[in-house]
């Protein structure tokens, strides 16, 4: 960076070089799962099961109100840590991380709908699955600061899976999409190096911003990084755009459009459930190869 004085830089580099080399090694792509094509069909074809599948689950159909034309998720990654927890018959530890919408727990809280629904949906679909859900907000923090907090929380909670609503705060703060993408890559590589499964959820669809270059560039950058890092991605932006077309209206804040926003969250839980189930089935089909 231009502001860095080469001498100080060199000195400090020498001091911390050891740690960085270790980090670079840990983050190298060779530690990541095998390549997977970007666009997946709604139902992933199982990858030649070597043995009989050990997990009994069917990919759930989307409810009538959440049916969309675009694929509700992308990628075909294996959620190996979740599968391992399932086989060990212990609760799967899930951190639901993201903007304010994930916070709030307790079945009576209206905001609880997303994490609680996700938990219930998952437990309903997969036989023998018990989820321990940790909803965590990232109030107003952009990826740069959030990454540090995420790492500390991961080290403390030791989850099997992170369902991460990513990018909204960065899009709102008009962060450059490339800087954002770089930070996201780094965090995903770190999570992969610690065998923590991830499902990403991209930002909300907002009609006013549907043609806003910077907002859309963050959404696109998430898709690029998710594909590159072989991480499952819930297409919230596209799905909500579909839902918005199905529920035309003039004002987002009229009662029916506000309902749409609420519907967006309920559907997001469904889409995330589908993505997670596909990831578990994928891991089962691969029979936990590599773990």
């Amino acid at each position: 960076m231009d502001r860095r004085i080469p001498v100080v830089f060199g000195l400090a580099c020498a001091l911390v070089a050891g740690t960085h080399l270790d980090e670079a090694r840990a983050n190298s792509p060779s530690r990541l799962p095998a390549a997977i094509p970007l666009a997946a069909p709604a139902v992933p074809p199982p990858v030649q099961p070597a043995r009989r599948p050990m997990i009994r689950a069917d990919l759930p159909d989307a409810s009538v109100e959440c049916k969309v034309k675009s694929p509700s998720y992308e990628g075909r990654s294996a959620l190996r840590s979740v599968r391992r927890a399932l086989l060990q018959k212990r609760p799967v530890r899930v951190v639901a991380l993201g903007s304010s919408s994930t916070v709030g727990v307790g079945a009576s809280s209206p905001l609880a709908s997303y994490p609680v629904r996700l938990e219930n949906d998952l437990e309903g679909v997969i036989e023998g699955l018990s989820v321990e859900m940790f909803p965590r907000g990232q109030s107003g923090e952009v990826a740069e600061g959030a990454a540090e907090r995420l790492k500390a929380e991961v080290a403390e909670l030791k989850p099997d899976l992170i369902v991460w609503q990513v990018g909204t705060n960065d899009a709102v703060a008009r962060i450059d999409s490339e800087d954002f993408g770089q930070q996201l890559r780094e965090t995903l590589a770190w999570l992969a190096s610690h065998n923590i499964d991830v499902v990403l959820i991209d930002p909300q669809y907002v009609e006013r911003l549907s043609k806003d270059a910077r907002y859309v560039s963050i959404v696109n950058e998430i898709a690029t990084v998710a594909s590159e890092m072989r991480v499952l991605l819930v297409n919230r932006f596209d799905s909500m755009a579909d839902l918005a077309r199905q529920h035309p209206g003039t004002s987002y804040l009229s009662s029916d459009r506000f309902h749409l926003n609420d519907l967006g969250y309920r559907c997001m839980a469904e889409y995330a459930t589908r993505a997670i189930v596909s990831g578990i089935l994928q891991a089962d089909a691969e029979n936990g190869a590599g773990h």
Binding site: V8, F9, S139, R174, L209
Partner: protein, 358 residues
């Protein structure tokens, strides 16, 4: 109105940096402390709050009675509690107004504001209890609890200032080791700044100023420590510039002791803050001679820190909204910063005018 002094000046500087840092994505953030040190403007603000606490307790010339000190601190905590409720209410109203006016529901979810609109029953209780905080409006709740803890520290300090420091360090160590937290509610999680660990910084400020005043050899110590503190500060800068941060999975337990964690105020952040305080200790007289108007401006902000802080928080939110609605360029950001600095100056002037005429 007291003349400019080092504490007011640096407090004003911290307020300006907090204002800029609270508008994420601006290029001007490169001028703020977080790009040059492991600690940032929040630490500076809290440390200086501790320093000024020493004047409240010890008086400018003669020591105040304990009951006087305690009542002053409790009253101040009450004032800050009021200020938090006013600012968070205005912030929520700004987001609501923006959502309605621009027909954009995303505003209702900014910075954890969702519960205020969707779960109003719990959020309004949490707001009063300070357990409901939204992003960038979480320093004043910390400050309220810090003042309450500092009140206890001041009472203990009547017996011995070192005992107060020992009690503070014990609580800090216990918090990091046992991972004690104040829970947030209705949103699940913890306070953005953990008051149980941050209390050490305000107590350190108070102890430092008290010891400096009571021990004649303190000045000599500061002179001797200067080169070491400066070297340590520069080392911190180098660590930040190479973007080194300890890996939470790689450090031993208790992990927060070894990280650069902001929530728990890891020791690295405290050491960084103390090094900066010593390194910059001789700077104020030099700056007063060289850049008098800037010193007077920042000191005025620092003298009226609560009013300025509240205004800075709301202006920063306004700046965020403006950047979100527009297409921010350097010129756009410059306009936000200039308007912000002018409004902060006017706020301080009005607050001062009000207090001098009262």
């Amino acid at each position: 109105m007291r003349p400019p002094n080092a504490i007011d000046f640096w407090r004003g500087v911290a307020l300006v940096m907090i204002f800029i840092n609270h508008i994420p994505g601006m290029d001007y953030s490169i001028l703020t402390m977080r790009n040059y040190a492991i600690s940032d403007a929040a630490e500076l603000f809290v440390f200086l709050a501790g320093c000024s606490l020493a004047f409240v307790v010890n008086g400018r010339s003669e020591k105040k009675t304990l009951s006087h000190s305690v009542s002053r601190l409790l009253l101040r905590a009450f004032e800050i509690w009021q200020a938090q409720i006013v600012t968070i209410s205005v912030a929520v109203a700004m987001l609501g107004a923006a959502a309605l006016y621009f027909n954009d529901p995303l505003f209702l979810e900014w910075h954890g504001a969702g519960p205020a609109f969707v779960d109003t029953v719990r959020a309004s209780i949490g707001m009063v209890l300070l357990t409901y905080q939204i992003g960038y409006f979480n320093i004043l709740p910390l400050y309220v609890v810090l003042l309450l803890i500092a009140t206890v520290a001041v009472v203990i300090a009547r017996a011995s200032i070192w005992l107060a420091l020992a009690a503070s360090i014990t609580l800090y160590a216990a918090t990091l080791t046992l991972q004690l937290r104040l829970p947030s509610w209705p949103a699940e999680g913890a306070w953005f700044f953990n008051p149980l660990s941050w209390q050490l910084l305000i107590v350190l400020g108070y102890v430092a100023m008290t010891v400096k005043r009571e021990h004649p050899r303190a000045e000599e110590f500061l002179k001797r420590a200067w080169p070491w503190a400066t070297a340590l500060m520069l080392f911190g800068t180098a660590v930040v510039w190479v973007d080194y941060r300890p890996d939470p999975m790689a450090v031993p337990f208790p992990q927060y002791l070894f990280l650069f964690d902001k929530e728990y105020l890891s020791p690295a952040r405290i050491v960084s803050m103390l090094a900066i305080a010593i390194a910059f200790y001789p700077a104020f007289p030099l700056l007063s001679r060289r850049i008098g108007p800037v010193v007077r401006y920042c000191s005025r902000l620092g003298r009226n820190s609560l009013a300025v802080f509240c205004m800075a928080s709301l202006l920063a939110l306004g700046g965020q909204i403006a950047r979100y609605l527009g297409q921010p360029t350097l010129l756009f950001d410059t306009a936000i910063v200039v308007i912000g600095l002018v409004v902060l100056g006017v706020t301080a002037w009005i607050a001062e005018f009000r207090s001098s005429s009262a």
